[in-house]
Amino acid sequence: MTTELATDPRLWIEVHAWLDHEAELLDEGRFQEWLELITEDVCYGMPVRLTRERGAADSHRGNQYFLENAATLRLRVERLATEFAWAEDPPSRTRRFVTNIRVQPDPEGVRVRSYLLVFRNRGDDAGQEWLSCERRDLLRPTPAGLRLARREIWIDQSIVGSRNLAIFL
């Protein structure tokens, strides 16, 4: 991966702004607007993570926590809008912290790696869930701006410390 200085600073700023905007949409529950940021051929996955000896493959793409295309992402959003989506109604309070953004232009678009730390709190629980992960994205330039064409979420736990994954990462 090239260093940040080797990347066109305008592209670097555009990617930062895109990720901040996406986090805002998800934290504010503006899921329909979020869906406008994905491509029709989007692949959205989250492999199972494994504890292995150093050097061995520590993830598995056979079983994944998410394995979505545009249709299933829309289905999930449509579900949240029904009055029976108990897992997120009342909604969680979430705050997504996006850092360590690395940008690499690519013939297919822009490859972006970012760290994501999500704070999630629900109901009258004084505690919280923290989910830490790296996201490996492919953003594709379109006339309307950058769009998410591929995302792989690498969670930093082999046992996810959350009651469910009813939120998008």
């Binding site: 199972v48 056979g62 299933t72 108990w86 009651r163 469910n164």
Partner: protein, 436 residues
Amino acid sequence: MTISIGRPTETGPRDGLGARLAARVDIDAGSLPAFVFNDREVYERELGAIFGRCWLMVAHVSEIPEPGDYVTRTMGTSPVIVVRDEKGEVQVFLNACRHRGMRVCRADLGNASHFRCPYHGFTYKNSGELVGVPFQKAAYGDILDRQRLRLLSARCAVSHGLVFATWHPDAPTLEEYLGHLGWYLDLYLGRAEMEVFGPPQRWEMPTNWKIPAENGASDAYHTAHTHASLPKIGLIVGGSKFAEAGYHVHAGNGHGLGLGMPTDELVFPSEMLDEYRRRLRPEQFQTLIQVKNSHCTLFPNLTFVLSSARLEGEIVSHLNMQLWQPRGPDRTEVLSWGLVEKDASPRWKERARRHYIITFGASGVFEQDDAENWMDITRNCGSPVAQSLDFLYLQGLGRQPATDFPGPGEVYPSKYSENNARAFYRRWLELMLHDD
């Protein structure tokens, strides 16, 4: 059929917990006290009385196909290694060195001929023998009996591709333990060679393990309301009869299931029908092809769901397994596998995998709403006033058994029943009050 695993208590409850249970539990009257779902004393008794005695599922054979392949799991809270040894035999060992108890294997899965303890280097073959002790002569002279110091072995047996183990030396055979459930496991797992999509999803829920286990055994009734979002988005078809039509079966020993049937259309891959016919008895085959969905708990803590839907315009189905591992009176670790026919078409397998992930994994649209209920029930059951409540297990009391169903067990018409929950807790109580 009831399998006794030892002498039931004849003298009645002798201690505080036994008296508390005897005073409040009245299963025949359909009543169970709230405190059993969040109580330290109940939980600690369960680790021995339930998880120390029952046959427990630890792996699927497709996870460890080759000699040396292993996965690490827990039986209740006890860490174990499930390994296929060099002779091809599956063995289950406590993951603890005989010297100081350190875990001799610290990976989730892999392939190994030996397990070496990181602490002092005691080394065991994958068949359990202690074969290496560093500086043995200098450290021990001739007083160490290596023969006696194998990794502690659980009794282990394989049925329907599932590896089970038990710590109880006098447990019945696995076949006896499964009893009538074998007929139904044939439908889930014996109809064709099945394989898992990969290692299990794992996550931790703030709930008591019995709530999801009971739900899997008995509760089709919740589907209409808890999962009311799913007909709205087309992931469930069949209208108001969705959850009701079918049979409710107690297969003995606390194993319970519901079969949603009949179906309007075949929910299985048509290329597999010949294979099903070869492997199943005619009455099993005729039952299977009418099934739309099914839920089951193999006592104590393994739940199966056979789920079907119309996804992106086409019918699809898969089988999933959830293992509810006790982690405290109010905590459960979930291991979740999706399974599919090994010889189904690549296209069907891919669609089945996506169907599993969107419905029953940690992000599954069924699973996530279930978790919300189970968590808040558990919280309530930890508060003193809520603990004084007695919960209702009345559905199906006095109902006449079905006479038009070919499968074994106590079979009732309509999936709306709590007979399986009563059977689950009868078995649970029998084990909890068992006099050693």
